[in-house]
């Protein structure tokens, strides 16, 4: 039974926009790219709707579109938009999570994308692999690294498993 596009669209659009905004930056750009991805999804919905992981397909299209639009932006356009007043939706991340998302923003690009697709887009690891065109194993590895890096950044006393193991070995040797 293929997924109904209207249901999917209404449920997923806000999440799609927020995810894109966190990956590529710029909520207007994210909204445009999300709309374009939805147009493409609908034009192929007979196939996309039957996919095991339609989200992977849509996010892949949306991310490509967002990156393409970002690349095409001219310096003048960037300067112009920088001076436009922020829209009400340009609010900072949810209060209480500012520190977390600031730490996520510090992650390497691909790692950050994986984290945002996993926790904001709520995609499964296979769907993230589809969306980013990488192997599922790579997704798992990047998520592990992200957890470790976030731990280091958010908790000064954080120790990775490797560090803990090394300390134990060191203690045993003594």
């Amino acid at each position: 039974m293929p997924l109904d596009f209207e249901t999917w669209y209404k449920a997923e659009y806000p999440r799609l926009v927020n995810t894109l905004a966190m990956v590529v930056g710029g909520r207007a750009l994210a909204a445009d790219a999300a709309a374009e991805a939805c147009v493409r999804a609908l034009s192929r919905w007979d196939r996309v709707g039957r996919m095991e992981r339609p989200g992977g397909w849509v996010y892949r299209v949306a991310l490509n579109e967002a990156r393409r639009r970002a690349k095409r932006r001219t310096t003048e356009y960037r300067l112009l938009t920088e001076h436009l007043p922020l829209s009400p939706t340009s609010s900072p991340p949810v209060e209480g999570d500012v520190e977390l998302w600031a730490a996520v923003a510090e992650l390497p690009d691909r790692t950050r994308e994986v984290v945002v697709l996993r926790y904001v887009a709520d995609l499964t690891e296979p769907a993230i692999a589809d969306a980013l065109g990488i192997r599922r194993g790579s997704v798992a590895t990047l998520l592990r690294r992200a957890h470790s890096r976030l731990g280091e950044q958010l908790d000064p006393h954080h120790q990775t498993e490797e560090m803990q193991t090394e300390e134990l070995i060191h203690a045993d040797n003594q």
């Binding site: 949810v94 977390l100 589809d130």
Partner: protein
Amino acid sequence: MPTINELQHAGNRAAARAVPAAPPLTTISEAASKRSNRRHLLIGALASIGVLAVVAPLTVLRVGDGATEVVAAGAGAAPTAVTQPADPVAPLAGVSDSESEPSEESETGSSDESETGTVAPHGLFGSEGLFGLDGQDSSLSVQIVRGDSAGQAAERAAADADEVIEQDGITVWIQADGAEGTASVLAEPDLFVAVTGPGELIDALAAAATSQKEFLAPWFLADAWPEGVPESPHAPLIPNLDEMFSEDLKERMEERFGDGFFDEEGFESGFLGWSDSDSCISIEIGGSNLTFSEGCNP
């Protein structure tokens, strides 16, 4: 360290942030409908580029006067000198943005400056090409007919066909004649594409047309399926243009047709700029030369 649970909750809060109102579904539907129509055109356009690049890794060298381009082609060959066209032409690097529409070629300025390009060692689908054709010995003709003449060309192709393949609503007519053959398709009511070439190439086309990959398969593009997306009859049908084309080819084609040519929209506007109206384009590949020309007889 944030726990998985904390990350999930934070992610959900971020996902639930207010966003600009979603475009009305009717707007999305209308745009999707337009896009579907454009996409059929794009497939036809992709077909011809795909054919060219499959047969031989290309290096675009020159823009010819009189709406004729000559490019060098060949797999792994030494840099190839291109026969000087009848009218000296400007090297690609000199083509300005304003000349990005192919139909404006004949109005471009010219220069005697010659350019010999290094033949790309890797083509669209790898160094070995597709179907074992290396581009050195192949002669290929791609004809694209737009407008009212497309239907007439399709009727002739149907009448001459030795084999007819129906695939996903698209009809491919195969005309085999010993060492040479022609595969034709009416990709859109006003867009006809015919490929004439070696029999083995046409055989491969026919085989591809009956494969499970639908739509793009008849035009060699199946190998450009996005990596990581399962190949199935329901696989997505967007070719990843970045993955399809060699960097060298992309760079030079973008020089010729403008930045962003290899994005879908740029591709559409750039390539189809050749055929804004009722027109016919012929693309000939022979030996190390490849020629685009307008005004062929459909």
